[in-house]
């Protein structure tokens, strides 16, 4: 009964913005409309009002943000950690690797890593260029 | 048997019963409750039946307050003013149904014969004439052997023969020691049958006493005249009548 009550309350009350898990294979990319299947490159944006947008690739998130031109309205910007498929990490603190050896869903060869060390390790293995969030966005813009 | 204690009732702004107190003992009596339309007769009856719930005051039947109770109605047979029954039931089904609901010994057979309803038993209630329906209504009210009988306009729609039969039945009820409360507009009936008259006006009991006292008080030749005078005098007669009724009760 108590559980039921809590469930009803949480249903009715307005929610504080929080990330939502991506249902791979079902969800549609908000930008390019493709089904999200890649657990290493998906991304998510959550507005301050709690609306969740999901993307199949980091480049889609970046293009969406650039089109809106207003990052302030977002409470969360998240990207998949390449080394931990399915895990979402903060987009602003992630390190990005652009490597021709690692294709990403929308053709930008852009992957994200939780730490710089991991990104460097992958760079050793695959080659490519490292970026921070601002740099990665710049890269996508100029592509 | 029935004790009404300072009962008031209003419907919205309309005060229908105003601080009514009286008692009725069971002693083989027929009490006519009279009064002009809207004087509170039906409300009083319905209060006793528990259909109308008084705002103030208490009603007891057979020694028990009735508020929130229902079983006491086993002691009451009631004849409602307007008789309408489920259209799709047959007469016999209705009789059986009420018996089934009350689960008390009932004797409708004689009454059916008496009112000549035998041939109507398998007709649907919706097809019956008003008079016949009233007869069915009477059967329902009289088929139980209850100490208390409440009849709201029992003569409505009845043919003369049926009225005679009704009178007989009422007489028998009195002989059996029942208490009969009835409302009617037909004064000769009151004169002929009633032992006592309760006259209601504007929600108050204006007069309560035997027929003789009624006629005597208003110096009238018959009940009709007495009532008419009672009504005419009601304005200045208030006090004395109150006194009278309080003395009587």
């Amino acid at each position: 009964m108590k559980k039921l009550w809590i469930a009803l309350c949480s249903l009715i009350s307005a929610c504080s913005p929080s990330p939502k898990p991506i249902h791979y294979g079902e969800a549609m990319c908000h930008w390019c409309k493709m089904t999200i299947v890649d657990q290493q490159h998906a991304a998510e944006a959550v507005t301050r009002k709690g609306k969740v947008y999901q993307f199949d690739a980091i480049e889609c998130l970046v293009q969406y943000l650039d089109e809106l031109g207003n990052d302030d309205q977002f409470a969360w910007l998240l990207v998949n950690d390449f080394n931990r498929p399915g895990k979402l990490i903060d987009a602003q603190t992630a390190t990005y690797l652009v490597s021709a050896q690692i294709p990403s869903p929308m053709g930008a060869f852009l992957s994200a890593f939780a730490t710089r060390a991991e990104a460097e390790a992958m760079q050793q293995q695959k080659g490519g260029q490292l970026y921070d969030w601002v740099g990665a966005r710049q890269y996508v813009r100029q592509r | 048997m029935i004790r009404i204690d300072q009962v008031s009732k209003s419907f919205g702004k309309l005060e229908v019963l105003k601080d009514i107190s009286c008692t009725f003992e069971q002693q083989g009596r027929i009490v006519a409750i009279l009064g002009p339309n809207g004087s509170g007769k039906t409300t009083l009856i319905k209060s006793i039946l528990g259909m109308v719930l008084p705002d103030v005051g208490e009603i007891s039947v057979v020694g028990q307050p009735i508020r929130g109770r229902w079983a006491y109605r086993e002691a009451i047979s009631y004849l409602p003013q307007i008789a309408r029954f489920p259209d799709n039931l047959r007469v016999i089904e209705l009789l059986r149904m009420v018996q089934d609901l009350r689960q008390q010994p009932a004797h409708p057979e004689q009454l059916i014969k008496r009112f000549g309803l035998t041939s109507h038993l398998h007709k649907r209630l919706s097809t019956l004439s008003g008079g016949t329906r009233q007869k069915v209504n009477l059967v329902l009210a009289f088929m139980y052997d209850t100490p208390l009988l409440i009849l709201d306009e029992p003569t409505a729609g009845l043919d003369p023969v049926a009225i005679i039969q009704l009178k007989e039945m009422l007489g028998q009820a009195r002989e059996k020691g029942k208490l009969v409360l009835l409302t009617t507009h037909i004064m000769p009936l009151v004169e002929e049958l009633a032992d006592e008259v309760v006259f209601l006006l504007d929600g108050r009991i204006k007069f309560r006493n035997s027929i003789e006292v009624l006629k005597h008080t208003f110096n009238a030749a018959n009940v009709e005249q007495a009532i008419a005078r009672l009504l005419l005098n009601s304005g200045n007669a208030h006090r004395s009548l109150d006194r009278v009724s309080s003395v009587v009760s």
């Binding site: 039921l4 709690g50 | 009732k9 259909m51 409602p80 029954f85 799709n88």
Partner: protein
Amino acid sequence: MIKILKYTLFDLLRSRSLLFYLAFYLAFTFGLFGLSADIQKVLISMMNVMLILVPLISTMLGVMYYYNSREFTELLLAQPIRRRDIFLGQFMGLSGSMAMALVVGVGLPFVWFGVGTSPFFVQFLILLGSGVVLTFIFCALAFFIALRNEDRIRGFGLAILVWLVFAIVYDGVFLLALALWSDYPLEKFALATSLLNPIDLSRILIMLQLDIAALMGFTGAVFKKFLGTALGSAVAVGVLVLWVLGPLAAIHAVAARKDF
């Protein structure tokens, strides 16, 4: 109560309006099958019709029944029977007989055309089940309205109003709210809002069982996920039950205080 129920049923099962109600469903459902042998299509069409008609007819017949049996109810009230039992019995009798008409009228054609062996049997059961529940809910609302209003015209008016609110106005306001707050995540709001209207809830319960649910996209998926859980279906059933019990409790409260 059982006896009142029995006699109310007995009376109603022979009433013309109920027979007409039954005949309509029979004719309509058979007619639909005549047009299309596709059980799912007929299910969807029937859903459309039932979600409009069941609440409408239930409120109308409910109010009508109450007013028509007013005098007889008085006779019953003068009998040694509990008040509550009279109204509960009448309510059960009315909604029970209407539900029966519905189940037979819609069920018979479906069974005739082989729903029992089709993959849509569960959907069919949910359709009938929600039809029955809606009958109960709107009969109860109708009884409540009639009890509260001695004036028949007013009673009928209110009954139509209640139907309008649940069947149309509610959805209109709902849509407006969705449009106004489209900046916010609305799935949960939508879920809660449609749970609160028994007609919407029934519609969604049936729709989620049909292919057409895919059209409902992400919001539909949220519904499906929620209602697919034990908690979700418990909430859905609970809400429907509350929609029956709530008006019943109100009937009970009003009847206990009412003068006849």
